[in-house]
């Protein structure tokens, strides 16, 4: 962002796109894919370098999915894995000078959140059928209104939490650099370090919540 709150837009085929968000998304995708390529270029039984990092991510995701959904949720692991890596790289991308996070645009976070929520409902209906629809009317049909609000709130909270955290971090970095003279960089550096932490935490939170929502739809009903 060169000026807070103003986005460069491009017109393509009659639609408006946020150019910076798109390029930064492609950059983040390229970085994730590069890491994946570096890690899996020569896979060996005795891991080293990036392979260890990617293995840790895969095992963490698999472990979380097993804990939350059991073996039935394993087919979602690649999605969760991609989501986590993409969000982590995206969140940290904005901390590099002249770059921005794709996640500082509500278009990105709402897109991801809606994708997850739509998947939740589709999977719920496919896996459980009428029982899934029925549970919105539990314990009494009146609760349908509350459940509906809850389901509508899910993508909103999921997307706005990430978007707010990231854009607040970036805005505050710009503000700090403008307010504090350049010979006293300590507040900006401290905030940068905190933003690194926030970026990691928000990536984990988004991923974990997505998994929690998905597990509701996928896991076996406890009798």
């Amino acid at each position: 962002m060169h000026e807070i709150g103003v986005r460069e837009t491009v017109q393509f085929a009659g639609y408006t796109f946020n150019w910076e968000t798109l390029t930064m998304t492609w950059l983040a995708m390229a970085i994730v894919l590069l890491i994946a390529y570096l890690a899996t270029r020569k896979l060996s039984l005795v891991p080293s370098g990036w392979q260890i990092v990617v293995e840790m991510a895969v095992e963490w995701v698999d472990g979380q999915i097993d804990a939350m959904m059991g073996e039935r949720g394993r087919f979602l692991a690649p999605l969760i894995f991609s989501l986590f890596l993409f969000l982590l790289v995206s969140n940290w991308l904005g901390l590099i000078p002249f770059l921005a996070s794709p996640t500082n645009d509500w278009n990105t976070t709402l897109g991801l959140a809606l994708l997850i929520i739509v998947m939740v409902h589709v999977l719920g209906v496919v896996k459980k059928g009428g029982h899934y629809i029925g549970h919105f009317f539990q314990p009494t049909p009146v609760f349908f209104i509350i459940n509906l609000i809850e389901e509508l709130a899910k993508p909103l909270t999921l997307s706005l939490r990430l978007f707010g955290n990231i854009i607040a971090g970036e805005i505050l970095i710009i503000v700090l650099l403008k307010l504090v003279p350049i010979w006293m960089p300590i507040p900006a550096v401290l905030w940068l370090a905190f933003s690194v932490f926030i970026g990691g935490v928000q990536a984990i939170v988004f991923t974990m919540l997505s998994m929690a929502y998905l597990s509701n739809a996928v896991k076996k009903e406890e009798e």
């Binding site: 946020n18 995708m29 896979l43 039984l45 392979q51 698999d62 278009n107 897109g111």
Partner: protein, 167 residues
């Protein structure tokens, strides 16, 4: 700042694309590799277990063999001892018979010598008798004197009598 536009759909597309690519490039190979590693470790553990069992079996076999060898060695030593004892016994018996032989031959020798001595003595007695007879004849005195001489001689003979041999 918060306005939604077509970027929304582009981002969904981007992410789905990324997920598909990552699944192909990273997730599947890594999971496959993890599985391979797990299999390898399991295999190694199994092999180690098998090796331990094999080693145990070998150890038992060797112990058994060692015990057998020990028993055999003991038997051999016992045999040797028995044989040497027998030999010693046989030698002792041989020596005993030899001693017995020597003793009996010595006895025979002694008997022969005595025989010889008796023969000699008899010859001597004859010679003495002859001498005594000569003396009697030479003297040729009265009968009284003769008798006395003979009695004297016979007395002397009785004094020198050896064993129960007749003179």
């Amino acid at each position: 700042m918060i306005e939604l536009n077509a970027t929304f759909f582009a981002q969904i597309l981007n992410f789905v694309l990324l997920a598909i690519l990552l699944r192909a490039v990273a997730y599947k190979p890594v999971v496959k590799m993890l599985k391979a590693r797990q299999d390898k470790i399991q295999e190694s553990l199994d092999k180690a277990d098998a090796d331990v069992a094999e080693a145990d079996k070998l150890l038992t076999q060797y112990k058994e063999k060692l015990a057998q060898a020990n028993a055999k060695a003991e038997e051999i030593v016992k045999n040797a001892e028995r044989r040497s004892g027998e030999e010693r016994e046989a030698q002792r018996a041989a020596v005993k018979t030899e001693i017995e032989q020597m003793r009996s031959s010595a006895r025979a020798e002694i008997a022969r010598e005595r025989e010889q001595a008796v023969t000699q003595l008899r010859a001597e007695v004859v010679a003495l008798s002859m001498a005594a007879a000569g003396k009697i004849i030479a003297k040729n005195m009265d009968e009284k004197e003769n008798e006395k001489l003979v009695a004297e001689f016979v007395d002397r003979l009785d004094k020198d009598k050896i064993g129960d041999l007749p003179c």
